[in-house]
Amino acid sequence: MHSALWISKTGLSAQDKQLTTISNNLSNAATVGFKRDRAVFEDLLYQIHRQPGAQSSESTELPSGLQLGTGVKVAGTQKQFTEGSLQITDQALDVAINGRGFFEVLMPDGSAAYTRNGQFHLSADGQIVNVNGMLLQPAITVPDNMNSLTIGKDGVVTAVAAGTSQPQQLGNIQVHDFINPAGLQAIGANVFQATASSGTAQTTTPGTEGVGSLEQGTLENSNVDVVEELVNMITTQRAYEMNSKVISTADQMLQYVSQNL
């Protein structure tokens, strides 16, 4: 059959995956701490039908051969860990990391997960948890008669007990960094898990060793650029249309053969 059919089919499915990526980015344009994905395209292997430089006779050689490519594939998606803009919310338990790094939370199965979404809450036991109830690690418990909770730039959490004026230290929030953050596995709910590709987490005090400092009362917006995504959507749609046009053209060619011969 006509191999242009299969090649254009790879074009269609790659553009389709690209559109999926774009729509996921766009739907998370307002998700706190979201990092956008980018689809990485790669050309598929080439088949040599006629070897360039092969001897066409004892003294002459073919000046050019015939190499036919076989299409395109999405080699993977790449998370873009550029920072989103910071937004002031004035909520005591909203924390943003101004720079590199992640918060560590405890998954229900006991494993560690990492997030840049700093919308924390208190659980019924006074522990600091994220919006899905996963415990912030290391666990920090806020006793119930505490006022004016303060989170310092270096992660020190202090509060003032009712009736006293002396701040009391409750614990430290730590920040975890990865050598290759793009290798983290996104598992939804704004959290990531370490993989062999990301390397292991290096735990540090915020503001030191190159990781970001903490900003209380601030949240990090999604780093999705809506205009850019819309432009990507336009090019994706047109590329899709053109690939499908090649399929219909190849189909017409074959149809012409079967009708006329």
Partner: protein
């Protein structure tokens, strides 16, 4: 049987192969750093003492790759680089040999090695580039990589390595079966001190979608012409058979 049938068939078959090349180009219209293949048809005369000298078969070839630059697309990512002009980034292909690419969506893997988007190590000054844990990685215009190591101030930038950039004329390079480029003689090219990269940009595919589309459509009409010819030859043969039939 009239041999015109085979001449027309060779045209139709080669048209389909040319169509395949354009379909491949069009499928890669959004592949970073992709360079389109040219396709041309040649005529090959088939001479035999008894035959007419009119028998010329079509032969489709992909003589070269178009190395013109695609558009630069701003991404703002530090490790995205676009090569200006006719330069290429040297990488180590999966078979261990040195190859060249213009796809500059680089990343740092878990071992600290600088690789391309599909995981091929990028060559530096003689060896693959390793980047120590860094807060910020900058790639300069000549491919020099400087980093601000973890915990260091902005005044303590350290130069790590320099991406091997090469320059070659279009006729010295050929596309490998994995889509990377290599010198026709198979030897590694010398680094070129004058090649420039821009950080924060990616080079889009240099496929012109309208042109590829037009080629596909024009080839499809050409194909119909050849099929029509096959049909005519068939009709001629049929007429001859009818005339000469006994009944």
């Amino acid at each position: 049987m009239d041999k015109a049938l085979f001449t027309a068939m060779s045209g139709a078959k080669q048209t389909m192969q040319a169509q395949t090349v354009h379909a491949h180009n069009l499928a890669n219209v959004s592949t970073t750093g992709f360079q389109r293949d040219f396709v041309t048809a040649q005529s090959r005369y088939v001479h035999a003492d008894y035959a007419q000298p009119s028998r010329a078969m079509a032969l489709t070839t992909t003589p070269a790759t178009d190395f013109s630059q695609g558009a630069l697309q701003q991404t703002g990512r530090d490790l995205d680089v676009a090569v200006e002009g006719e330069g290429f980034i040297a990488v180590i292909a999966k078979d261990g040999t040195e190859a060249y690419t213009r796809a500059g969506n680089l990343r740092v893997d878990s071992l600290g090695q600088l690789t391309t988007g599909n995981g091929l190590p990028v060559l530096g000054n003689g060896a693959p580039i390793a980047i120590p844990p860094a807060e910020k990685v900058e790639i300069g215009a000549d491919g020099t990589i400087s980093i601000r190591a973890l915990g260091q101030g902005p005044d303590a930038l350290a130069s790590v390595d320099r991406i091997k950039l090469v320059r070659a004329n279009a006729d010295e390079l050929q596309k490998r079966t994995d889509g990377l480029l290599q010198a026709k003689d198979g030897n590694p090219l010398d680094p070129d001190a004058n090649s420039r990269v821009v950080s924060g940009y990616l080079e889009t595919s240099n496929v012109n979608a309208v042109e590829a589309m037009t080629e596909v459509l024009s080839l499809s009409r050409q194909f119909e012409l050849q099929i029509k010819f096959l049909h005519k030859v068939d009709q001629n043969t049929e007429a001859a058979t009818r005339l000469l039939s006994v009944s």
